[in-house]
């Protein structure tokens, strides 16, 4: 990758490369300046996203800085004025041939059996820059091949050319220096410490950047030859970072994902979960056809027409029993934007229910995600900035965002102030860690900007740390904040309280909302939350706009996930549609979910698998998955990027939006969309935040990195809903001009005003309830690998879920009177689990920390989703 996105250098450095005078940027390396000007210098160790080390000498060229030409590694040398570089002189060529011959001395002739063969820089450059013939007749070295350096990565040491890319990546980029050069000289090899595998969340990147076939992925080894692979670009939807990937398939089977370098998001990196979970899409458990439960209670494969009819009947039954309010939709945060729009239109525009929530009480309210002043990843990572992290462990939940932040802190002087109840994987990056009691982040925020009122203690944070953080913030400009849920044992209200307090004290703060599931932002944008309509319009403001365009609009705001499940458990919801949701596993409160699913008379599921929750459904509609359909997705910044289909869905599985359209038809209403393009056109026309997002724009070169919504022009001309019609008409035409759309003659000109975008109002923060002396407040964190369906259905990842213990402070542990490491009963008013309880000095007194969704300790048995906190008691008596 070259930084072609960078603006052309203003005050350049004139250098001559192969007789052509060019302008290099100040500080630009010769190798980059040459590439930017069409001269490719061969290289192995240089990687533009890592510090150069000059390890391989392949990039050597004759460089004259005024003292006569000399051979220099061009990846280590910055351009200086008047420099003359010869990349194709006799001397340079001889040097390059020498380097290659030297590298090939010990390189085995593995090409025919090597995964890299065909896309191998060593092969390619041996042909383009090598001597063509080897003078080496001696025996080459032999090493055991391959050795596993982790569950996911294999190493053929004899193929390694010691370029230091993998080891540099592990140390400098990922911060997991678990592979290292071992031994010296001719015996040097990359390896791990015996018994300590390269257990990094980012290990797959080393396979991608290894310039030879020394590192290979265990799940891709021998699967394909590069020239047989067909590729298309897309965006990873495993989490909300939205890393750009290339989907690579052969014979209609996806075989691997490779990271694609885009500047604003992932810089070419992927996490291992995103890279390797493709096996789940091809798993045995994948639904290939729709299912309908037969009279005996067993699923039977059905024809689509029958299954859709059954599903529509189920919805109709709900409508008949209790009107639109008796139908609810849960899930959808993994849909494409188009499918999310289609389902919103089905639910809100056809059925007329507002009981729709794409999150399972484990994310953040739409008001915060859509309504807070937004920051992009680049804003957060801008050199020299100050970032408040009030949220989850990014390393576990949004891994590549963690990499970006890590780079920003270690290389670009960004300072991080972390507010957390328990230190985590981001804490080592923080200048200050403010450890506070659960639910009191807003107190800390206030204390950061003003004196602590008498009788309060700023959430219990250490006063020195607080002073440090204050000093840091005083010396900084406007902060940016990464805001999310650090514990799902606490309600999301605390997060809102923190945001309110922060906006009060520092109104210029901008937020990156750390939602987790792939397209949460997009689904919310499309209105998949109670009280919302597509395009970030509130139901109240958007009703008049959507009413003439949709068959119907919900009468009143509906329930969120907790409300939906409560209503279902109370018998008020007659039909529940699960859109890829598995509340029994993912909803924090398993008991409520179980009551709801067993009570609701009609359960319809649209899913890729028969999850535990889907077992309860009477109809299951098999949906197409990632890489099987076209569409768009929106990452946590609000960046819309294009998803491309690479393979066909298995069996008869269908795109979600088609399912929505078919259901609408059977409910007597035509969604009037026949393709993803139709849907997008309608979204751009109707959804205010999508104004101007035309296909011409989305598929243009300028939008290769995606477009962040709302488009600047769209907001600039966005009519304030409270404004007069004139302003609205003006705004409309301005948006038209920009987007070149054709809806100028829609009712907009005369009819209701296009609604404005929802904004964050916040509310008066509450104090958390008091903790009784015998209880500990539970903090439920997450790890990257857990019991989630995609992880569990990927054989190489399934075993990586680490399990959990309950960590408590030594003071609290002493009161139990049993040694650390004893398995004990942990109780809340609604449930109990057994867990090994250990002391941990990092844990705050009065709190207990465990990981959610792990195999051994089902925390969702303990959490009561209707409470704002979860207080547990540990019973030492009963072992």
């Amino acid at each position: 990758m070259t930084d072609t996105s960078e603006a052309p250098p203003v005050d350049g450095v004139p250098v001559t490369i192969d007789g052509v005078e060019i302008l290099a940027a100040k500080g630009e390396l010769i190798i980059d300046a040459a590439e930017r000007n069409g001269v490719y210098i061969p290289r192995f160790c240089y990687h533009p996203r890592m510090e150069p080390v000059g390890m391989c000498r392949m990039c050597i060229a004759e460089v004259d800085t005024g003292r006569g030409p000399a051979l220099q590694p061009t990846c280590m040398l910055e351009c200086t004025p008047g420099m003359v570089v010869h990349t194709d002189s006799e001397v340079t060529k001889k040097a390059q041939e020498g380097v290659l011959e030297f590298l090939l001395i010990n390189h085995p002739l593995d090409c025919p059996v090597c995964d890299k063969g065909g896309e191998c820089p060593l092969q390619d450059q041996a042909v383009s820059h090598g001597p063509g013939e080897s003078r080496f007749v001696e025996e080459k070295r032999h090493k055991e091949k391959p050795i596993p350096v982790s569950d996911l990565v294999l190493l053929d040491r004899e193929r390694c050319i010691l370029c230091d890319r993998c080891t540099r990546f592990a140390k400098d980029v990922a911060g997991d220096p678990l592979i290292h050069f071992i031994n010296r000289g001719n015996n040097t090899e990359v390896n791990t410490f015996p018994g300590e595998p390269f257990a990094s969340y980012f290990s797959g990147n080393t396979v991608q950047i290894c310039p030879v076939g020394a590192l290979t992925s265990s799940d891709y080894r021998f699967k394909a030859r590069p020239w047989d692979l067909e590729k298309t670009e897309s965006t990873c939807t495993t989490c909300a970072v939205g890393c750009r990937v290339s989907i690579e398939s052969s014979r209609n089977e996806v075989l691997r994902y490779q990271g694609v370098d885009i500047d604003p998001v992932n810089w070419g990196w992927l996490c291992d979960k995103g890279r390797y979970n493709l096996a789940a899409l091809d798993s045995e458990s994948r639904l290939r056809d729709p299912l309908v439960k037969g009279p005996g209670g067993a699923f039977e494969v059905a024809r689509w027409s029958d299954a859709l009819r059954a599903a529509a009947n189920a919805i109709q039954a709900g409508l008949d029993a209790g009107g639109p309010g008796a139908v609810a939709f849960l899930g959808g945060a993994r849909l494409t934007n188009e499918s999310a729009y289609a389902f919103t239109k089905l639910a809100k525009g056809v059925i007329g229910t507002d009981h729709v929530d794409c999150q399972l009480a484990d994310g953040m309210p739409a008001e915060a995600v859509l309504g807070l002043p937004k920051a992009t990843i680049d804003d957060v990572c801008a050199p020299g900035g100050t970032v408040l992290l009030i949220g989850p462990d990014l390393k576990e939940e949004l891994p590549v965002l963690f990499l970006r932040l890590r780079h920003a802190v270690l290389r670009d002087g960004v300072r991080l102030v972390q507010l957390t109840s328990v230190p985590n994987g981001c804490s080592s990056l923080a200048s200050v860690v403010l450890q506070h009691r659960p639910g009191e982040a807003h107190e800390v925020v206030r204390a950061l900007f003003a004196d602590i009122p008498a009788g309060r203690d700023g959430g219990g944070v250490n006063p020195q740390a607080l002073d440090q953080a204050r000093a840091l913030l005083r010396s900084a400009g406007d902060p940016t904040a990464i805001l999310g849920r650090q514990s799902i044992a606490e309600g999301a209200e605390w997060v809102l309280d923190a945001a309110t307090a922060l906006l009060d004290a520092a109104p210029a703060t901008r937020f990156l909302t750390a939602v987790r599931r792939g397209n949460t932002h997009g689904a919310l944008d499309m209105g998949m939350a109670p009280g919302l309509l597509p395009g970030r319009a509130t139901l109240a403001e958007g009703r008049d706009w959507f009413a003439p365009r949709w068959p119907t609009v919900p009468a009143a705001a509906g329930h969120d996930a907790v409300g939906i499940l409560q209503a279902a458990a109370a018998g008020q919801i007659h039909t529940l549609v699960l859109l890829g949701a598995d509340p029994l596993t993912d909803f924090p409160d398993r008991q409520l979910a179980a009551r709801a699913l067993s009570t609701v008379p009609n359960l319809v599921a649209v899913d890729l698998y028969i999850t535990e929750s889907v077992q309860h459904a009477s109809v299951v509609l098999a949906a197409a998955g990632f890489g099987e359909i076209d569409g768009t997705t929106t990452n946590l910044e609000g960046r819309v990027s294009v998803l491309n289909q690479k393979v066909t869905p298995p069996g008869t599985a269908r795109a979600d939006w088609e399912i929505a359209a078919e259901l609408a038809l059977r409910l007597g209403s035509d969604l009037q969309v026949e393709s993803v393009d139709d849907l997008r056109a309608e979204m751009a026309e109707l959804a205010p935040s999508w104004a101007g997002v035309t296909d011409e724009l989305l598929f243009s070169v300028d939008a290769a990195d995606g477009v962040v919504l709302p488009l600047p022009t769209a907001t600039a001309t966005e009519p304030d809903a409270a404004d007069a019609d004139a302003a609205a008409a003006e705004g409309q035409s301005a948006a038209e001009g920009e987007a070149g759309e054709s809806d100028a003659d829609t009712p907009a000109a005369t009819g209701p005003v296009r609604p404005g975008l929802v904004s964050f109002a916040g509310g008066e923060p509450l104090d958390p309830p008091a903790l009784d002396a015998y209880s500990l407040r539970l903090i439920a964190t997450r790890t990257l690998y857990d019991q989630g369906t995609f992880t569990q259905l990927t054989p190489s990842l399934a075993g990586l879920a680490p399990g959990t213990v309950l960590r408590v402070h030594a003071y609290d542990h002493d009161r139990l009177g049993v040694p650390s490491g004893t398995e004990l009963r942990v109780k809340t008013p609604i449930g109990s689990v057994r867990a090994v309880v250990v002391t941990d000095p990092a844990v705050l007194r009065g709190t207990a920390v465990a990981v959610f969704n792990q195999p051994d300790v089902p925390l969702n048995e303990l959490i009561d989703a209707t409470q704002r906190v979860t207080d547990v008691r540990i019973e030492a008596g009963d072992r």
Binding site: H180, F181, N191, F193, E196, L410, R411, S427, V432
Partner: protein, 212 residues
Amino acid sequence: MARLTPENEILAREIIGRYPRPKSALIPLLHLAQEQDGYVTDDAMAHIAELVGVTSAEVLGTCSFYEMFKLHPCGRYVINVCTNIACMLCGGDELLHHAEETLGITAGATTPDGLFTIEAVECIAACTEAPALQVNYRYRYKVDNDAFDSLVDDLRAGRLNDEIPPHGTLARVRQHIPDDKRAFIVSPEEAAAAGEPAWMHAHETPSVEGGA
């Protein structure tokens, strides 16, 4: 296989205290580990990694770079026979063969009684006294077969115990630097912040993870 003993761990912490950054104590700690067990065990490396806050792989990387750290058990006496050019011309190879035959092992191996390890090494900077060898890094010059035999006899009989301690011994008098006698410890960052010396901040050092 052993971690550092409690006594050595105390010592290790003292050694770490002599440096502005714990990681700088890596090599002295490896010596300590080698002194304890005669070679550097995996457990000791893992322990050192914990003590200085790096990964075990990084400790192994450093340790395996240096010839004098042994990663496998070796004899009480490690005999390095030079076979580089000057010694070779003066009979180094023959001396090595004689050593191998006398002790019944090949270069790189250890006698079953755990007393001797023989290694063929490159120039040990005693070319004027070729052929040369070292026993636990103590020199013997112009060694012929007879001299080698009597050296082995003396070592077996313990006649050289005073001069040649067991392999791994760094010094027989332990150096203790009291807190108030320690050199003024300044980290490069602090020095740079103090405005000198200039070379220290010529290159911007990235801030250190975990430095908070």
